[in-house]
């Protein structure tokens, strides 16, 4: 109860630091989702719709990467971008951009895996029917996307959900720096470590509200355009 009261107090009127943290969180999650979907949706569709040698190996690889522990991804990205690492010159460590890099590494396999298994199962009858009608590859692909848009949409939301909830990788490469790279999850970690459990829980409640709001808005937009 104490947590709900604190959550309420943080939100009304909004706390300036909290707003900044929410801003960073949303920015990071938005770009992580965007980039991993730009890579993962086409690649996943390709893997799902084509049969080629080594496909089962690639699928196993993707399934393994889907379970990549976030701290491991964090460490890999950290070692790539640390001062002496191959990308050290870019000076990106402890920035939101490198947090996005780490998250893209974590989320892209998930997007590829979910998209390819969706295309493999659900698109088969669509492809067969469309090819049977003599449609071009382009028109067939468009139909598959149109027919499966609610599933593809939940892939995108899944990616966003992972991104906004993830803490291991972003705390390693982002450093949880106040006013700069602190996001909701790392703030919750920090408060928990300080022993302020109810305040941490208050932040958790707010994180849930944000996630719910994003989901609601997104599905509203899709419903508006879909209807079918």
């Amino acid at each position: 109860m104490e947590s709900f009261r604190q959550a309420f107090e943080l939100l009304f009127p909004p706390d300036r630091e909290l707003l900044q943290i929410i801003g960073v969180t949303l920015r990071m999650s938005f770009f992580s989702t965007l980039i991993s979907c730009l890579i993962g949706l086409p690649l996943g569709s390709l893997i799902g719709s084509k049969s080629f040698r080594g496909k089962s190996f690639i699928k196993k690889l993707i399934h393994t990467l889907m379970g990549l522990p976030p701290v491991v991804a964090g460490l890999i990205v950290y070692s790539l971008f640390t001062h002496y690492g191959p990308f050290g010159k870019l000076n990106m460590l402890f920035t939101v951009r490198v947090m996005v890099v780490a998250q893209v590494m974590l989320i892209t396999p998930v997007v590829i895996g979910l998209t390819s298994s969706f295309i493999e199962s659900a698109s088969k009858p669509v492809i067969e029917t469309a090819r049977g009608l003599g449609f071009s590859g382009l028109k067939t692909a468009r139909l598959c996307i149109g027919e499966g848009r609610s599933s593809l949409f939940s892939v995108v939301l899944n990616a966003f959900g992972r991104s906004i909830a993830e803490v291991g990788a972003v705390s390693i490469v982002g450093g949880n720096i106040q006013w700069k790279t602190r996001v909701m999850t790392t703030a919750i970690m920090l408060e928990t470590n300080k022993g302020k459990f109810s305040f941490a829980l208050a932040l958790g409640i707010i994180l849930l509200i944000i996630a719910f709001a994003v989901n609601a808005v997104a599905s509203f937009i899709v419903k508006e355009n879909a209807d079918g």
Partner: protein
Amino acid sequence: MVEIKNLKKIYGERTVLDIPGLEFRDGETAALAGANGSGKTTLLKILAGIIKGSEGGFHIPENVLYMPQSSYAFRGDTLRNITISGADRKEALELLEKLELSHLAGKKAKSLSGGELQRLSLCRVLSRKCDLLLLDEPTSACDAKGAELVIKAIKDYQRESGCTVIMSTHSPLLALNAADRLIILNGGKVETDGSPEETLANPETQWAKSFVAGWKI
């Protein structure tokens, strides 16, 4: 002309289709029969380019249409499910009329019954032009009246376009009423090949005899 030469389909160790040679004249309507798993769908899918044969090859005309064994309903209403093929509204409505689906024009295609959906799927295919029409069990979900409508639609389309039709079926009615030729497959091989009346009355092989005996008319 459709020309099949040494066509084989092999899954793992199993040869599910093995056709040394088979030809179809232009404008011919042929029915493919045979037990479940005898290779009817496999043959049609290979000709339609949905799957590849393992060995051998075939020659077919350029414009091919294929209606899968299970019908798919696209998003949206029944009418859109036809116009999606490029047909205009008027043509689509005429086809719906022909298959007695007009009253369902505005309904969501996904809500249609099995037999209604199968007739819709046929409308969609017949809204396009082709030289070779491949139909996988086009009456399997239809009642007697529906099957009659489907048969008439196929015959009319064939007459108007002069295309070659190859269709698989478990229905003697379809074979007798719509086809000039009946091919019975057994384990991926051609068991008999002849006129439907002749084959049904006087099956050439012992196996075909017992198969046809199971076909009650």
